[in-house]
Each structure stands twice: as C-alpha cells, then as structure tokens.
C-alpha cells in the first residue's frame, strides 16, 4: 500500500468528470513551462513515473512547430496573455507521456453450467449462455502492475430446447442479470494480465412452458454472487493521444475466466386458481414441479477494449 497511488480519490468522481478531462486533453504544455497545471491533481504527476516502469516511453517523434495552436485550447489570461498568444505555440519536448488506461469495456459470453437434472427440462445440454456487456474502471493502483477495478454489467440469455417430457412444450428460460463487481488485476507482462473477479447482483428469470395447451409462466427476481479468476491477453497499446491524461491509448484483447456462481434455486409450479364460475368452475390446486439448483461453475470468454 505504500506505493498505492490514490488516483481513486478523483478517479471515482472522475469517472463522471471524464468529459472535462477529455476536453482539456489536447492542451499542449510548453516543456519550458514547468508550472504545474493547477487543475491537474497532484497524484497525476506520479503516474508517468510509475507507469514508465512497465511501459517504457516510445521514441520521441519530431517536435512540431512551436506555433502550432491546438483548437479548443484554453488560453491563459493575465498580463502576458497577449504576448503569449502572439507567439507561435511551442511543441512539447522530451519523451512522450506514458500510455495510460483506466477504463475497460468488455463484450462477454458466459457459459453457465447447470448440472441440476431439472435444468434439462429447459435445455438439452447442461450449459446456459449469457451474453453481456461490462464496463470496468480502475480505481486503485497498488503498484505499477497491481490495480483494482470496479465493474458494472448486464447479461442476458434464453434457453429453450429442452424436451425431456412430452407433457410439456415450448420450454423457455430467459435470464437477465444486472451486476457489479470488484476485479483485482495483476499485470506481470505487457501482454498478460491475471485477475480475480468477484461480482454479484440481481437475476431476473422468466421460465415459461406450455402444459396441455395451458401456458405456465414463472417470474422470479433473485440475487446472485459469483467468484472467478482468469487471464487476459492483449497486444501492445496503441497511442491515441500524446498526453499523459486519460484515453491516450487503446488496447484490444481477450479475456478468459472460470469461476463459480451461486444463486437461489428456481422453483416452478402449476398455478393455483380460484373458481370464478365462468372459465374456472372448480378451484384448482396446482402441483409443485420442483426446483432447479442454479449454483454451478461458469466459463467466460470476453473481448475487451481498454482505454
């Protein structure tokens, strides 16, 4: 924790402030002007040093003309502002700032193993697939290669080719998950990352089938938690900006993860009906069909973009 850089102090709110930084990003600071940007947090200064340990700065490109003016740059005000404005913009000198990334967007395919025999009613094999989108922001950097990220995500899937019993038809199980998680990451190599992922949230399930012409639908809202670990492979990052600020690079990669998910069992039953004298002459008691244990291992493959 000694080396922890509490970028989280502003990164968490900065996740929301991100457009402000993005607007300031093109601003070129003359290398001769060492005055720190009062708008920039102090922690940001440490970032190049720390990041440089794992991402050596690339070779310097030719310096642009000093008179180059960047559109949208906020001009300093004060007595020298006129003179400064009349001078041609100065190209920054020295090494380019290190590549920085703190945001990850993933498109994931989660294969959830359901070994409960009851699941076969809905799906002929034991695997249910959820496709989802995750957003992950790095909030805490313990060292140059160890960090902590938070994630938010959504996933959904439909399973419905099970035909274990001819008494039923059109079985369908739709699941939607909204979740949040915490992801410690360790990046020992530029192209390799290891991670542990703990996440949990709400699972909205709709189980439907037709029994002798009668449609039966069961909607449930249950919590779930999952824990997994895996690794990611990513090629070198591409620089998208010459700043040391956010989004000066992008990387695409692929991540593999295995884990175990826990969720309450899904109980299904034929509905009870009260007599109304019209379409239900006698009260009806419906049988419990049993429950499906939803705890089981999962395997996730995701493609990600890291900014």
């Amino acid at each position: 924790m000694n080396r922890a850089s509490w970028t989280a102090a502003w990164l968490l709110p900065g996740f929301a402030l991100f457009p402000l930084h993005a607007a300031a990003e093109p601003t070129a600071v003359p290398p001769t002007t060492e005055t720190p940007n009062p708008a920039a947090p102090a922690e940001e200064k440490r970032t190049p040093t720390e990041t440089a340990t794992k991402s050596p700065a690339p070779e310097l490109p030719p310096a642009p003309p000093a008179s180059t003016e960047v559109a949208g740059a906020k001009q300093p005000s004060g007595p020298d502002s006129t003179a400064t404005a009349s001078l041609p913009p100065q190209e920054p000198e020295g090494p380019l700032p290190p590549l920085v990334s703190f945001l990850r967007v993933e498109l994931a395919v989660d294969n959830q193993w359901n070994e409960d025999p009851g699941y076969d009613f809905f799906d002929g094999d034991d695997v249910g697939t959820l496709v989802g989108l995750r957003g992950e922001v790095e909030v805490l950097e313990f060292s140059a290669d160890v960090l902590l990220a938070l994630e938010l995500g959504y996933a959904s899937g439909v399973n419905g080719d099970g035909e274990l019993d001819l008494a039923f038809g059109d079985p369908s199980w739709t699941e939607r998950r909204v979740f949040a998680g915490i992801v410690p990451r360790y990046e020992p190599l530029d192209w390799l990352g290891l991670h542990v992922r703990l996440h949990g949230g709400a699972s909205f399930s709709t189980a439907e089938f037709v029994a002798q012409g009668r449609e039966v639908e069961e909607n449930t809202l249950d919590p779930f938690v999952a824990a997994g670990a895996g690794f990611s492979l990513q090629p070198p990052r591409l620089r998208t900006s010459k700043t040391r600020l956010r989004f000066n690079s992008v990387a695409f990669g692929i991540q593999f993860e295995g884990g175990y998910s826990f969720a309450p069992a899904l109980a299904l039953a034929f509905p009870d009906r009260t007599a109304n004298g019209v379409d239900q002459r006698l009260p009806q008691s419906g049988a419990d069909l049993g429950s499906i244990d939803r705890a089981g291992p999962y395997f996730s493959v995701s493609g990600f973009a890291r900014f």
């Binding site: 294969n111 193993w113 070994e115 409960d116 025999p117 009851g118 076969d120 009613f121 002929g124 094999d125 034991d126 695997v127 274990l164 019993d165 001819l166 008494a167 039923f168 029994a211 002798q212 295995g258 884990g259 175990y260 299904l268 039953a269 034929f270 379409d279 239900q280 002459r281 006698l282 009260p283 009806q284 008691s285 419906g286 049988a287 419990d288 069909l289 049993g290 429950s291 499906i292 089981g296 291992p297 999962y298 395997f299 493959v301």
Partner: protein, 505 residues
C-alpha cells in the same frame, strides 16, 4: 471435490459436455380406486402412483410405490382394501403376483410364468393366474415360449412358498378359456371351494382344500366346438350346471363321495338335461323347498327339476336369453316369492315370470312389459334395476311394481355408473365436461359442470365422506374431486400431479 470437478470441467470445456439421459416416459394404466387413493400403474417405470383424495384438502402430490416388476393387469381383491397386480419380469419371463395396499406392497408371490389373466374367489382368499386364450396374438412381446395350460393357484392368506401351487392342467388339446371359483360347498362331508376351468369342450375341477390331489378333467363332448359359456353352482345340491353355445343340453355335474380308488374324496358325475333350444342363461332357485333350474333360450324358458329331470317349457312373447332372479312382491301378489326378469340385450320388451307354481300355471305366471331396447341392466337396491337403453337414456325399472321411470338424456349413457352407497346413478360421458347424476330416492337428475373433459369415473365410498373422482385426459395429471352427497359444492381440481417434482427427479 465435486465443485472442484465442476470448475475443472468448466475451465476445460467451452461447450456442453454432452447430452442428458432422458428418463423413460410413463405408460399409465387406467386409474383404479384403492382405499382413499386413485392409483395408476406405470408400466415403463414399474411403479404405482397413488393420489390421496380422501383428505379434506387434497394436495396434487403423488405417492410412489415401487413394484418388483412391470405391472401387467390389475384387479381389486374381493372383500379387501387391496389390489392384486400381475407383474411380469421380462428379463427372465417370470411372473409375480403383488398384493398392493394403500401404502405399500404388502405381499409378493412368485407365480412362475408371465400370466396375464387372474380370477379370484368371492371372499378374496384365493387367486388363480392363467394365460388368457388369446394371449399369444395380443401380446407378442412376452416370453418366447409358454405353456398355455400352466396355472398358478395362490392362497392369499398364506405366506411363503406354500402359498403358491403351480401346475399344468391336463388337456385334450385345448387351452383354458375361463376360470370360476365355486362358493363354499359341502362335498363328501367337507366344506370346500372348487375351481372350475373351462376348456372348449371339457372342464377341470380343482379342490382348493387339497391342492396336492390331482384335478378332475371332465370331457363334455367329443365333437369339439362345444363352447362352454356359463356355470352355476348349487351348493345345497352339490351340483354344478354348465351351458354351452354348441349344445341344447344343460350339463349337470353331481359331486359325489368318491370310491376307494380315487385320490380325491369326491368325484363328479355328469348328467345332461335336454331342452328344446340352445340355452343361454340359467339360474337356480328354490320353490317349496325344492331347488329348480330356470333356463332361458331366447324364445322360451324352461324350468328344470333336476331331481326328476322334469322340464317345463314356458314360451316367451318378448325374447329373453338373460335372467335376473329376484325375490319380492308383484302388483298382483304381495307375497315375497322368487320371480325372474327375462330380457335380451338389444331387443325391446322384457318378461316377468312368477316362479311359484310355474310348472302348473306356465304362461299365466308370465307378464310382458314394454321397454326400449336394453344395452345393459344393472341391479340396484330395493328390487330396482337400472336399464341403459340402446336408443339413449335410462330407465329405473321397479321389479316389484313393474314400472319403468325413464330418464332422458342428450347423450349416450353407456357410462352410467350406479353407486348403491351414495344412492345415485352417475353418468360420466367420456369427453364431456358435465357429470350427471340421478338421485335414486326421488329420481331427480342433476349435473355438475367441470373444467376439463371426463376420462374416467371412480367412486369412493370408504372415505370419511363419500366422494366421486373424475379423471381428465391431461398428460400432466388432472382429477376433479366431488362430494358424492352434494356434488355441486366443495369440489376441487388437482392439476399437474403426474409431473409434480419433475424437476427434482
């Protein structure tokens, strides 16, 4: 360890590990009533499924009783709250007889072969398993070889190996067609039951008191094609009367004390009583202390005094080849005496015969009664008879008053079920959603509308309050439970019980 295995599998596999083993589908028998349960037999899974309908608030849950082999046929055990289930083990083509109680299999008897027919004594003590005559053509999937003359006699009150006696009946080339148990008869000073096995032209008598002794085989005709059809027992006379399609004679077997040269202590003696046409039905009745035989042969009735072989013929104006014997008064005679109703299925009109002094009074003891063609006739209480008509509708025939109260119906009433305990006649037409009933006290008809079509009707008189249960043709399982006393109130449908817990299996 299990979870670790799952995790390893998950990490190594991206796709499904393979298909699942599908459980066998059910092959259910028709429902039966047992105590307070509706019972189905699942031939694919060798189990009995029991639905409790006796409680005040029945639940759609099944109790399962595992059977030792595949159920083949079921009959209710006479006088007991049990079912007799013939089981077939296809692995070794062996058979079993299970006694199923309300909560468990109470007894299993090894009966050797895969018998498909079962007959039992009136008191439910004895059962005889045999091969039905058309078994080979109907059930080709059973054992490769079988002996059609093999039988198994089971003493249902005994346990162990001694409870079952297997034997092969002597045969003159034919196979058993039918089996009947006699009532207790005192023969040669000993009260016993006999088993009568019908062949095409011979009968076999087996003494249930002495199963170690050989059976009697009595050849009734050498011509073949006799076609034995009916048997009546006269215990007081120690006689057995037999009828055959191919003969106009009544065959009489007198059961006499045997001589010293017999292993059995009795022996049968055959006699034949000739009538003028082929007799179809007969009853034994007592008049003035003498036992007589009334025989119906469609166009006439004969009264046979077997002691003297005297036959009195009474011509009939209405055809009658079936006899319903009753004792009661008549509109012209308040004396309670033996009387008979003669009728023929499918023919209009019936005939009443007053059997007292009928040999002298002949047609003067005969009265015709016009009635729509009869499809079936079911005796009720108090000398009433339910007549189901071919043309639709029912009649409640009062045998003493000789009146008929018609109940008209919009549908076929072939499924009318009289329930003496509830004093109602229930009409449960298959495929309809309305259950009808007639109160026998006042002949008032009523009906209950159900939510699902009717498949089967079961009556439960032994429950705390008598109930009727209607099953519905729904593969997930559906029954409607109604109060027999007040069908319109308090009914309930249980739905989905055949699939209860399907996700947990």
């Amino acid at each position: 360890v299990k979870h670790e295995t799952k995790l390893a599998c998950a990490l190594l596999c991206c796709t499904a590990c393979g298909g699942v083993e599908e459980p066998p589908f059910r092959d259910l028998s028709e429902p039966r009533a047992l105590d307070e349960h509706v019972v189905w037999f699942d031939r694919n899974n060798d189990e009995a499924l029991l639905l409790d309908v006796g409680t005040s608030k029945p639940e759609p849950e099944l109790d399962r009783i595992e059977l030792p082999a595949m159920p083949r046929s079921v009959v209710r055990r006479n006088g007991q709250n049990q079912l007799l289930v013939l089981l077939s083990d296809e692995e070794d083509a062996s058979g079993k007889l299970a006694v199923l109680g309300p909560s468990r299999v109470e007894q299993v008897y090894e009966i050797g072969a895969e018998f498909d027919a079962l007959q039992q004594s009136e008191d439910g003590r004895w059962a005889l398993a045999y091969f039905s005559p058309n078994r080979a053509g109907v059930d080709p999937s059973t054992s490769l070889l079988f002996n059609p003359n093999e039988i198994a006699i089971v003493d249902l009150e005994a346990e162990g190996e001694g409870a079952v006696v297997q034997r092969t009946l002597r045969s003159l080339g034919s196979v058993p067609r039918r089996v009947e148990f006699s009532p207790p008869m005192t023969i040669a000073g000993e009260t016993r039951r006999l088993v009568v096995v019908f062949f095409e032209a011979e009968v076999t008598l087996i003494d249930l008191n002495h199963l170690d002794r050989p059976e009697y085989t009595i050849e009734l005709s050498r011509g073949g094609g006799l076609g034995l059809t009916e048997v009546r027992f006269s215990p007081e006379e120690q006689r057995i009367y037999l009828l055959a399609d191919g003969s106009s004679d009544v065959f009489v077997l007198r059961l006499l004390e045997a001589g010293e040269n017999r292993e059995n202590d009795f022996e049968p003696s055959l006699n034949q009583l000739g009538t003028d046409s082929t007799p179809r039905d007969m009853v034994v009745f007592e008049n003035d202390g003498e036992r007589k035989l009334l025989v119906a042969s469609s166009s006439s009735a004969q009264v046979v005094e077997s002691s003297s072989n005297r036959v009195t013929q009474i011509p009939l104006e209405n055809p009658g080849d079936r006899i319903l014997l009753f004792e009661g008064a008549s509109p012209f005679d308040d004396e309670v005496e033996p009387r008979a109703l003669l009728y023929r299925l499918g023919s209009p009109g019936v005939t009443f015969l007053d059997l007292d002094d009928i040999e002298e009074r002949t047609t003067r003891n005969r009265e015709e009664f016009q009635l729509a063609p009869i499809a079936s006739l079911v005796p009720l209480e108090n000398n009433q008879v339910l007549a189901n008509h071919d043309t639709g509708g029912l009649s409640i025939l009062n045998l003493e008053e000789r009146t008929a109260s018609p109940i008209q119906a919009q549908i076929s009433l072939a499924q009318a079920v009289p329930s003496l305990e509830t004093s109602r006649i229930w009409v449960a037409p298959t495929g309809q959603t309305t259950l009808g009933f007639v109160d026998l006290a006042n002949l008032h008809p009523g009906q209950v509308r159900l939510d699902l079509p009717i498949a089967n009707f079961l009556s439960f008189e032994n429950t705390s309050s008598p109930k009727v249960v209607v099953t519905h043709p729904d593969a997930v399982g559906a029954v409607s439970i109604l109060s027999a006393a007040n069908p319109g109130d308090g009914g309930r449908t249980l739905y989905g019980f055949l699939q209860a817990g399907v996700l947990d299996r």
